[in-house]
Amino acid sequence: MDGYEPMQTMEEDDHGPVIKISQADSVRVKFELSNADISFANSLRRVMLAEIPTIAIDLVEIEENSTVLADEFIAHRLGLIPLNAEGVEHLLYSRDCDCDEYCEHCSVKLTLHAKCTTEENMKVFARDLIPSGDRINQVLGSPVISDPDGQGSLLMKLRQGQEIKLECIAKKGIAKEHSKWAPSAAIGFEYDPHNKLHHLDMWYEKDVKSEWPPSEYAHLEEPPREDEPFNYDAVPSHFYFNVETAGNLPPDVIIAEGINVLQKKLAGLIHELSEEGKDGDYDGPRSPEFNGGGDGWGQDQGYTTPGYGAGGNQSAWGGQGGTTPYGQTPYGGSGGWGQ
């Protein structure tokens, strides 16, 4: 059963997926993943986009707002401010924390207090959000400031006499719930730059080639010959990623975390399957030989266990067949489904 390596294709001298980094700095990583299937590449893209935990403002308590902007408008704007997520793995999700609403183990508190006293309009920036209280480390939850002036995002402008005073609670979350928790501003994902596979139907007026600029990655792959017939068996194998961070996590950490999240997802399911195998009283999937006295999953008893011999309309899985209530539903039949 183990006569193959899952990560390898059938070709020889094949050592699984290959990663080549073509550009890397503090805001982006461009890399090429090759010798992998599109399904895995897409899983990686999806998981980096939506399932990496970060921290973002989730609750805003407004004490004083005499600006022209509505409270909820400001609250929404604050939610979208990227906060440094270094060490967020040590922060608990508020829903998992023992506290009533939030505490230093599951949140970071930020305060903002600004009043315009001059005739000139005053700009309030993300740097004016001041973290307070105990934190897991000195950077977690601080607003991301990456502009040369060190100001961060512009939050609002105040006229003379206007004042804003509020308290924000930043919590851990993932972008699947709200995109404010997205670690990446964008993830570029491209394959087959010459469109040899015809996955794209490019619109044109007179001539495709002159109307569509060549892809950034076109030089990395052989262009098709004029007379080349369409290859029906071809599958994409080179994927060009461009991971750009919003500033909350370094780009290489986004990639590492992405794979990590995928791993945890798998580990959780494997754990659940094996836990259930040990526990006698569960109603989910179990190996058919479970009742045969094995220690649950993974043992290779094949067809020798009693459950297997049953066959016919009364497999171990089918239970009592027609005697269960289900067998008498309007779905009828004696053995329920699939028999």
Partner: protein
């Protein structure tokens, strides 16, 4: 969990049977109890109402304890089974489908998201004799984990190599 078609007339024996072998007897999620049955139980009135109330309570308690994220769908045999994953989608589904199909003992594997507004993902696995669909699923999960391990390693190596090249 009690079968959803609990509005049917149930004799005590049947109730016991359903508790002992719930996964197999539970109707698919798309199953809706037939309308006639519902009418019948309503006419019957009180004696059933008590029992139903209790069943419903038990159900709630179970769900609160721990939500089961993988479920075997009815009608499965050892070598051909359908699984329902809660809170999973294309991210896991497509990659898992691919890696399970790579297993030479697997005859067929496919995944579907039956409805976009339900966070459920179904996987169908049919294996050749000698292994089971459950084993194939478990192997698929482990293989995908191994694949992720390799990609992590490759990425780290590639990052170090890039850093070395830049500083050189």
């Amino acid at each position: 969990m009690a079968p959803k078609s609990k509005t049917q007339k149930e004799t005590p024996e049947e109730v016991v049977a359903s508790e002992a072998d719930v996964a197999m007897t539970e109707p698919p999620t798309s199953h809706q109890p037939a309308v006639e049955d519902e009418d019948a139980s309503m006419k019957d009135g009180d004696p059933f109402d008590d029992e139903e109330g209790q069943n419903a309570e038990d159900e709630d308690e179970d769900e609160e304890e721990e939500q089961q994220r993988v479920k075997l769908l009815p009608g499965s045999t050892p070598t051909a089974a359908s699984f329902e994953f809660l809170e999973e989608g294309h991210t896991l589904g497509n990659a898992l489908r691919y890696i399970i199909m790579k297993n030479p003992d697997v005859e067929f594997c496919a995944y579907a998201i039956p409805h976009p507004s339900e966070a459920k993902m179904n996987i169908r696995i049919q294996t050749y004799e000698g292994t089971t669909a459950v084993q194939a699923l478990e192997k698929g999960l482990k293989d995908l984990q191994d694949l992720s391990d390799v990609v992590t390693e490759k990425f780290k190596a590639s990052r170090e190599e890039f850093a070395a090249r830049m500083s050189a």
